[in-house]
């Protein structure tokens, strides 16, 4: 181990922090939360503009702020937070020094400069090209340049993570065995991140050169194929990262052990092999791309990444159920779940994230990613409905849940207003789930995404969407207010806790320990009739039934539209 003065041990959790790594974790997390705040406020404005009765913003501001909303939350908030997670899962969990802190600083600086540069370009008003910036529509050069710098910075962060794994291995900081499951999940996220961020840089660099005049043509279809290897695949970084966070929270709240390391790790391995495919999801109805490629790509080879997600969907709650049953909550099917700490935002946020991601985000994602079903969904409001369930209800809520736990550990401060923290995951989860459902409902009625006025004011022709669509957009607007209130409460609590929270006294232990004592290995003597986790199995079967029904209902809808071939 390196100079021991550079380390501190957390008195509550026993975790060993390398100080340079800790500083970088804090900075990345703070930058992340700044962008969450910006993106969240903009999200509220989006919800209020698409609510036809309110119709808050004029068209030009709507499109400008929609561009800023997408990039702020979908790219900047999430990737900054993920870099913090990468440093935590490598340096802290492996008890190792961080590789090349100076490079990590450079990466952070590039990410800050890049993200600010892109935001400035957007707010100057001449880069309202949406997050996707499809050519031949063009933004200002510094819009692309900022994204390229951000991508380079994030790539440096990924390599610092990999370097730390190498150092930890060489210096035997975590013994002779394998890396922890949570770190393995983060490694999965890192591998996908390198592929996807590199794809983004590969297409944005020539686009930047095109804008400044060194390249005369960017093929719009080529742009779409490569851009979506970032646009969609980057969301798979989130999936891997937030599932790693689910396992971490099951570990710290319950002392839960995975049902078996082998199955959970195999599921992450399937992600590494197949999850970063799926760049076809937004180009399923594009001309000039063959059905064979679309089918292979959209299904992650053969739904092997979906298989992996379904495995995690069983093993994460299964691990919690087994731990709870071993602690004595072994009655009936669901005593383990009823007696779970629902008032602890770390657990409540994580479990709601699991439910929203699985039932709302996961099922709809697979259904709309079916080559032919995409014909009745592409570019409707169903698409953002789906990804608000995955990225906001799934990833963001999981990261919020982890943050409630991280503030006392990392910053050594108590969370202020803990009474309100109890409600935050429910407020945010309910708002997000409503927002997703109502947007998807409007999408099935044909309401387009990225559209300022579905009443088509000043158009040559007219079209009247069904009244239900207007009702659903109103409900989506109300849900956006709830979600924004939940998100605002989170940012307020975390920021005030970090700066003004009561300093934690190492001598005084809280009522609930920050990290639970592990339960014993093995599953003997728990469960019902030889099934160790019957409650989880029932939940999983309910999930599968909903999945199958919803899948075939959509084939039925498709079969009723015009013949196409």
């Amino acid at each position: 181990m390196a100079n021991s003065a550079e380390f501190r041990t957390c008195p509550d959790t026993g975790l060993l922090f390398h100080k340079p790594a800790e500083t970088l974790m804090k900075l990345n997390a703070v930058a992340a939360i700044v962008f969450l705040l910006v993106g969240g406020v903009l999200g509220l404005l989006m919800g209020l503009t698409r609510w036809p009765t309110v119709h808050l913003l004029p068209a030009d501001s709507f499109y400008m702020l929609l561009t800023a909303h997408g990039l702020s939350v979908l790219i900047f908030w999430i990737i900054f937070f993920e870099i913090a997670v990468l440093y935590f899962t490598s340096s802290t969990l492996l008890r190792s020094r961080l590789a090349t802190p100076r490079w990590a600083w450079l990466g952070f600086a590039l990410m800050v400069i890049g993200s600010v540069m892109t935001e400035v370009a957007i707010f100057q008003g001449r880069s309202s090209v949406m997050m996707t910036s499809y050519v031949p529509m063009s933004a200002e050069p510094h819009f692309y340049l900022g994204l390229i710098l951000f991508a380079v910075g994030a790539l440096i962060g990924c390599f610092v993570f990999l370097g730390t794994l190498v150092i930890a291995r060489a210096e035997r900081t975590y013994g002779e065995g394998s890396i922890p499951l949570v770190t393995f999940g983060a490694l999965t996220a890192c591998i996908i991140a390198i592929f996807t961020i590199a794809s983004g840089a590969i297409i944005l660099i020539p686009t930047f050169l095109w804008k400044v005049g060194y390249v005369n043509h960017i093929d719009p279809l080529m742009y779409r194929v490569i851009w979506w290897a970032m646009g969609h695949s980057s969301q798979q970084i989130n999936v891997s990262a937030h599932i790693a966070v689910w396992y971490a929270i099951a570990g710290v709240v319950f002392g839960a052990k995975p049902l078996s390391e082998k199955v959970s790790r195999m599921a992450f391995l399937l992600y590494i092999l197949f999850l970063q495919l799926a760049s076809a999801h937004h180009i399923l109805v594009d001309p000039g791309i063959s059905s064979e490629w679309k089918i292979f790509n959209t299904s992650y080879a053969m739904y092997l990444a979906v298989l992996a997600s379904m495995i995690h969907g069983l093993t994460v709650p299964g691990a919690i159920e087994a731990a709870q049953r071993k602690r004595g909550f072994n009655k009936g099917l669901f005593e383990w779940l009823r007696k779970a700490p629902w008032g602890n935002p770390t657990f409540a946020g994580m479990f709601l994230s699991l439910i929203i991601f699985g039932f709302l985000g996961g099922i709809t994602g697979v259904v709309m990613g079916t080559e032919q079903i995409n014909l009745i969904i592409h570019n409707t409001l169903y698409v953002p409905g789906h990804f608000h369930a995955t990225v906001v209800g799934g990833t963001t809520l999981a990261f919020m849940a982890l943050t409630y736990w991280l503030v006392p550990v990392l910053f050594r401060r108590e969370v202020v207003l803990p009474g309100l923290a109890k409600f935050q995951p429910y407020l945010f989860g309910l708002g997000t789930a409503g927002l997703s459902l109502f947007m998807m409902g409007a999408g099935t009625l044909g309401v387009p995404r990225r559209h300022w006025d579905i009443a088509f004011s000043n158009a040559l022709f007219s079209y009247q969407f069904p009244e239900t669509a207007y009702l659903l957009l109103g409900l989506a607007g109300l849900s956006a207010i709830l979600a924004a209130a939940g998100g605002g409460l989170f940012v307020l609590q975390i920021v005030t806790s970090v700066f003004f929270g009561k300093r934690k006294d190492p001598a005084v232990k809280g009522a609930t320990p920050l990290i639970a004592t592990p339960v014993a290995a093995g599953v003997h003597g728990i469960g019902i009739g030889g099934i160790s986790v019957p409650g989880t199995l029932v939940l999983a079967l309910v999930f599968l039934t909903s999945f199958i029904l919803y899948y075939f209902v959509n084939w039925k809808y498709l079969s009723q539209v015009w013949g196409l071939g």
């Binding site: 975790l15 969990l93 499809y134 031949p136 529509m137 002779e176 065995g177 394998s178 499951l181 719009p220 279809l221 779409r224 570990g251 002392g255 052990k257 049902l259 078996s260 390391e261 199955v263 001309p287 000039g288 063959s290 089918i295 299904s299 739904y303 979906v306 298989l307 379904m310 079916t370 080559e371 032919q372 014909l375 009745i376 969904i377 570019n379 409707t380 044909g446 387009p448 559209h451 088509f456 158009a459 040559l460 022709f461 007219s462 592990p518 290995a521 099934i531 160790s532 986790v533 999983a540 599968l544 899948y551 084939w555 498709l558 079969s559 539209v561 015009w562 013949g563 196409l564 071939g565």
Partner: protein, 179 residues
């Protein structure tokens, strides 16, 4: 040591797997295969598929093809801007173009007949979204997509643009009439 630590059993891959996990992996795998097979199955037996027919083109070449059809088959003109309504014969090639911010021309088709619909853009990317059917396709400049369409109901259909194409995006509305 907490559960965030490395696996307590170093040879974790030799540990027994839970029966419930094996059961779940098996049914999830079967479901994955069913979903995978559905897509090729629908290509053979389903009636709603995207064609794989597409060509590279240019706005000039495509614009001429559209205009040739308009000149030959226009039956009347609508709106203050005299937009042509074109009724091409059943089974023929029908050309529709997207540009800032209109779909040109208006088409008049017959129920139960099949047409070869061509789609391309003259400028930026656009989204063909047929309402209230809710059939959606991407329209890309430089590419001409061809697919057979068979309207199965009569009525007035609207084409909404559902790919953001600038400040007039929300005014981009076209029509297809099915008799």
């Amino acid at each position: 040591m907490s559960r965030l630590a490395p696996p307590p059993e170093r040879l974790w891959w030799k540990e027994a797997t839970e029966g419930v996990e094996i059961f779940w992996v098996a049914i999830a795998l079967v479901w994955a295969i069913v979903m995978f097979i559905m897509m090729p199955y629908w290509h053979v037996y389903g009636k709603q598929n995207l064609s794989n027919e597409a060509y590279r083109t240019t706005p000039e070449v495509y614009g001429k093809k559209v205009q040739a059809m308009v000149d030959q088959y226009t039956v009347r003109k609508v709106t203050a801007r005299d937009v042509p309504v074109v009724a091409p014969p059943a089974g023929s090639d029908v050309y529709l173009l997207a540009r800032l911010w209109e779909w040109y021309p208006v088409l008049e088709l017959e129920k139960g007949q099949t047409y070869r619909l061509h789609l391309s853009s003259m400028d930026w990317q656009h989204g063909f979204s047929l309402q209230p059917e809710n059939i959606n396709m991407q329209v890309i400049p430089g590419y001409e997509m061809v697919l057979k369409i068979t309207p199965n109901k009569t009525g007035e259909y609207s084409i909404v643009c559902n790919e953001y194409c600038g400040i007039g995006h929300h005014t981009m509305l076209g029509k297809i009439y099915v008799k």
